[in-house]
Symmetry: C3
Subunit: 218 residues, 3 copies
Amino acid sequence: MLQQLFSPSVQHTLDLVGIFVFAISGALLAVRKNFDVFGIAVLAEVTALGGGLFRDLIIGAVPPAAFTDFGYFVTPLLAALMVVFLHPHVERIQTGVNVFDAAGLGLFCVAGTTKAYEYGLSLTSSATLGLATAVGGGVLRDVLANEVPSLLRWDRDLYAVPAMVGATMVVLCIRYDALTPFTSGLAVVTAFVLRLLAMKYHWRAPRAWNRRSTVREE
Amino acid sequence: MLQQLFSPSVQHTLDLVGIFVFAISGALLAVRKNFDVFGIAVLAEVTALGGGLFRDLIIGAVPPAAFTDFGYFVTPLLAALMVVFLHPHVERIQTGVNVFDAAGLGLFCVAGTTKAYEYGLSLTSSATLGLATAVGGGVLRDVLANEVPSLLRWDRDLYAVPAMVGATMVVLCIRYDALTPFTSGLAVVTAFVLRLLAMKYHWRAPRAWNRRSTVREE
Amino acid sequence: MLQQLFSPSVQHTLDLVGIFVFAISGALLAVRKNFDVFGIAVLAEVTALGGGLFRDLIIGAVPPAAFTDFGYFVTPLLAALMVVFLHPHVERIQTGVNVFDAAGLGLFCVAGTTKAYEYGLSLTSSATLGLATAVGGGVLRDVLANEVPSLLRWDRDLYAVPAMVGATMVVLCIRYDALTPFTSGLAVVTAFVLRLLAMKYHWRAPRAWNRRSTVREE
């Protein structure tokens, strides 16, 4: 087992912050899709906890943290409640939400990678699962809302790459025995800043080479 | 472990009834979506067994009951077969189907909550998982059929709330050491009757407060 | 445990071939949906590994092979890379892809059934899980791409039936103690050839009986 990266209470607080901001993005999509208050709560829970749930099922950590930690369960409900009553304001502070969501992305890719490695996965698999932890909730959110996952669309700013970079930094640190609270924090911040830059400058990934020439639109 | 709530054969029969009526709702949606007979069978299986499968993966009960009990597997196929040949009649008896589906909702939320608690989850988590057991199959059905889950839509009669009430009654009974076949049965009946009333009087949940004022439709 | 059907290296090579061709089908759909290169990679991974991942979660083989075998992880990326640069050519060789996909279907239904039985499932459950292994990746691919799963649609050539036949042959061989590399290979080839014939002669499954008479289109 790796040494504890942060003090337990600090780590737990960071987790709850990430869960809260992810839940807001789910609840906002639910409002846009015209769901009722239960639909809003469900989408908030799924977005916030889905990535970690997938990771825990894969590594065999059952029951998953989402079902053993009361704070994990109740935080998305608070976020949903806030969105139900304040959503015009939340919409107006979309930039703020995006910043928090970027912070959640950074925190979750690092925490997911670390937990996967602690459960015995290889470095490559740990990084992959860290990425899945960070982006999985958003994919589930979009699938339940019957939309093409934002993660996969070419017309959205880079989202997976910052998480990939953060997860890769963690496994490199593990590989070279340099994983400390400082380097972990650095990985979080790097993923966070990369995502902010991707949003600011609208960085996008290329599509398939020469796509439009021969393949029909569908 | 809790005491056995019903005699095993009674419990098993109740499970099969719930599975059968859920399977009918899946098969009917498949007919409406113009799927072939295999699509009808798949959607019947997924609707009937999906909620329990999710619960069993979460609590670590692998292989899940859906894959160890032959009756669980074959019952949805019988429901699918019936729908394939009789679907105009099944459509005509939609009210009857809705009544059975409400019974399935009641049975599954109570059975799911009880099983989750037996596997060591907390009271809150057990109730949540009981709710997920009851509604999960329907969500999977709608996702596979590429529709917005009926559970999340504001223009459908209350579905989650009756299951929530049933699951909550079970955990309150556990908390105060009052879980007996009688109180369990009462929880089943309460969820069942609440769902019937929701359908009869078209009870619906509110949407986000002041929704239409500032957020665009999508 | 059953005897090893093929030498480990032969089995592993066959697995990688199946993963590769399934990944190509996922990557091609991603190109058609106009996803970016990361979306193409994700859809390739999900299509190739989703079926086996589901099987491993069900039988409790965690972490799943998809996360423990580096070759399983990297093969879909190579397929995605190939599609990104060569997709007009890949489109043109669609027939070739279909043939390989049929081979993957045969290999996966047999390997999935065998692995499920080794983990203690009954014969019926093993065959069902073998079928799910073979078709699960394609269903996940279509769900993520926000399309009705090709598996369920009546206007597609038979896909599940060949895999069902292959899986059934395996469990019959197990039942009568006749599972050898030869009979396993025969099951693979039977599923493969049936799928080829279904594509050549456009075999389709019937829909619900008398469907159009009384049920409205949706």
